[in-house]
Symmetry: C2
Amino acid sequence: MEGLLTRCRALPALATCSHQLSQYAPQRFHHCAPRRGKRLVLSRMFQPQKLREDQVLSLAGRSGDLTCKSQRLMLQVGLIHPASPGCYHLLPYTVRAMEKLVRVIDQEMQTIGGQKVNMPSLSPAELWRATNRWHSMGRELLRLRDRHGKEYCLGPTHEEAITALVASQKTLSYKQLPFLLYQVTRKFRDEPRPRFGLLRGREFYMKDMYTFDSSPEAAQLTYGLVCDAYSSLFNRLGLQCVKVQADVGSIGGTMSHEFQLPMDVGEDRLVLCPSCHFSANVETLDSSRTNCPACQGPLTETKGIEVGHTFYLGTKYSSVFNAQFTNVHGKPSLAEMGCYGLGVTRILAAAIEVLSTEDCIRWPGLLAPYQVCLIPPKKGSKEEAATELAGHLYDHITEAVPQLQGEVLLDDRTHLTIGNRLKDANKFGYPFVIIAAKRALDDPAHFEVWCQNTGEVVFLTREGVLELLSQVQVV
Amino acid sequence: MEGLLTRCRALPALATCSHQLSQYAPQRFHHCAPRRGKRLVLSRMFQPQKLREDQVLSLAGRSGDLTCKSQRLMLQVGLIHPASPGCYHLLPYTVRAMEKLVRVIDQEMQTIGGQKVNMPSLSPAELWRATNRWHSMGRELLRLRDRHGKEYCLGPTHEEAITALVASQKTLSYKQLPFLLYQVTRKFRDEPRPRFGLLRGREFYMKDMYTFDSSPEAAQLTYGLVCDAYSSLFNRLGLQCVKVQADVGSIGGTMSHEFQLPMDVGEDRLVLCPSCHFSANVETLDSSRTNCPACQGPLTETKGIEVGHTFYLGTKYSSVFNAQFTNVHGKPSLAEMGCYGLGVTRILAAAIEVLSTEDCIRWPGLLAPYQVCLIPPKKGSKEEAATELAGHLYDHITEAVPQLQGEVLLDDRTHLTIGNRLKDANKFGYPFVIIAAKRALDDPAHFEVWCQNTGEVVFLTREGVLELLSQVQVV
């Protein structure tokens, strides 16, 4: 330890700790928000939002038919832009919403012990040949060769890669398990007919978690833990998901559940039993069945979109790659695995699909790209004197409610009437729209506050606005 | 507006705002950190860290030679794991460091008005044919066909895609410019001989920004603004970068600079003039030149690794895709562009390369995966009574210093001596290592604190530890 001490002391930097700290830590510390005093203004947003209906249709034509509400709305207001069939550019509002969703996912996964990794998209063919999925996944895999002729696919999922990675850790002990390893990365699937915008793309973001346990019993516990975390996640987003028994498909394993969000454009058919808790994807049932396998009562059918999927894999993959650990008896033993997916971009689109009206986007409160839109009066109108009040209110909010820094947008397009801008704000679905109009000139000033997720409109003083907004939770 | 009011009121949720809020906002709010009272422990980390030297070599053999210090150290302690030539799995510590780096990048880019987008990796061949880069980029492009035979490359950079995207916005006015659009995504380059670990991979993370201005003068200002943000970024990381004039290469344009981090394994040769501020990549100079073009003084030469690159593009791309805006005279005009790259995974490896010793990793303070490692006494040792004190200190730190929630790791491998665990902690480079040993049993208890970025070791009471750590800045 003395030697270590000497060696460390020999490092070049020799000032005191607190002095030295300032070299590594920045003098200024700022959040992902504009500098104090600088306001976020709508006119500078990169948001091709003035698309006319015919433009939307022609754009969408390049990317399959305009097939559902979320796709149409997201194109109209400039949340996404088609890049090639099944591939979209995510524009700034969508990136903000997605980053918030990823933070919620990180919180939920890390609460149950998830550790985040990041695996390459280029996935060597030999891994997929080892499990025979190079053949069985057929044309869904996007395949390529590098300059040396080596074959790869673009990973649609990573059971092979993660299992080989864990198998490479030769000294694993049962005491270290379970491992819950996950990533949030782009996945690729060569859909024959991509459609529904972000609901069924060829390149999309997915959270995929892989778990490694020391026994089937422990793996069942982990499976339940992840399912509970998924339920917690969807609850926090205000999305009413149904967990149904599902087919294992090309992933394999012995048990599987889907988290389905019921909606008309859903591509899965679900059956639910109103009298007991049974629910299933119809794929898993005998086609002639019309009554509940659990209680024999009649089943009701609905359509849903799969936003999450869980698989109990057993040793299907660990046996192929020899992913072993040393068990309590000191003997090598195969890890019991599970895998768990969440469609990240799909959840965003699905939430918009179920929460929005035909014309107006609504977001889960936690995921709204901006929480507050502030509308000052029209230039030259008789309320123009309230313009400055709106600016001050902006500053007061971001000072008094720190979590809203970077979350308040000023609609500075004051050549437009308040009504027109309110119409836009309604379309975009900011949870709170605050208007400085006639009553802002009262003493004390009153602001018109639209709570868009409830449909309520109230007039509040500055203090009232701050009190209301201090309750807003952001992630 | 009345109609709008009615329609909004007709939305299903009708409770009061504050009541309703609780539906969308979670009851519990937690950071990306374990629940209160739950401690992060080292024994549960997925970190294949016990690799012996021969294992490291055999692993690395699959991924090119073991070519530099950062690659060797990152493999040894389990920060990365080879997946295929030039492709690495990023393991949990690296993902944490990378996410911190991305936050610093976001802050710097958003401070100058950057807006974050996200463009697909699958990039249609027709875009690249339009600029002739489908041909000129040659074998560096990874190419593939989808099931319909349509050709794509995996984007190594996105000038074509972003310009086509901006060109699609038909109603752009000079008043909206500049746009500073950026993304942090995986890029692909089919390197003939990938090497140096994350320094030169085939799949890597890059921040790429593209700017659109209304005049060459405005574009020059934006160019300077982005360069300043890059300097600010590297300053915050404590990395002494040199900005040198550079060749425009396959990107094109009329002016270019590189941000080079001087290091022996650097692949670029730089010349610097000690008497004036001139600096350049030797590629840009006449090979016979030995004196400074600015002051005629002698030039010194050094090697560097490029961590950032800026290009002034003019209308090279906007003219191909017709990316226009309406100028102050109401006439269509081509946007003046710039593009700006930062190698995200490369910066991580380069920082490790320059800051580490041969055996011990050192991080820029802001990017360290965990800020604090707490080492309780060995089980059965005569200091064992201090174990509980170490646990309490863990809780005190995370309670009293909120920004360190999720940043403190307890090395619970108490079957090992303090010395052995300190050796590991030294290798991993936690900025602060706190040991509860003999003097923790004093009254008041004293903890041994290793400030690893300065090499200083001090004994502090609990209050002293809290005071020291309260100065640590995290991102």
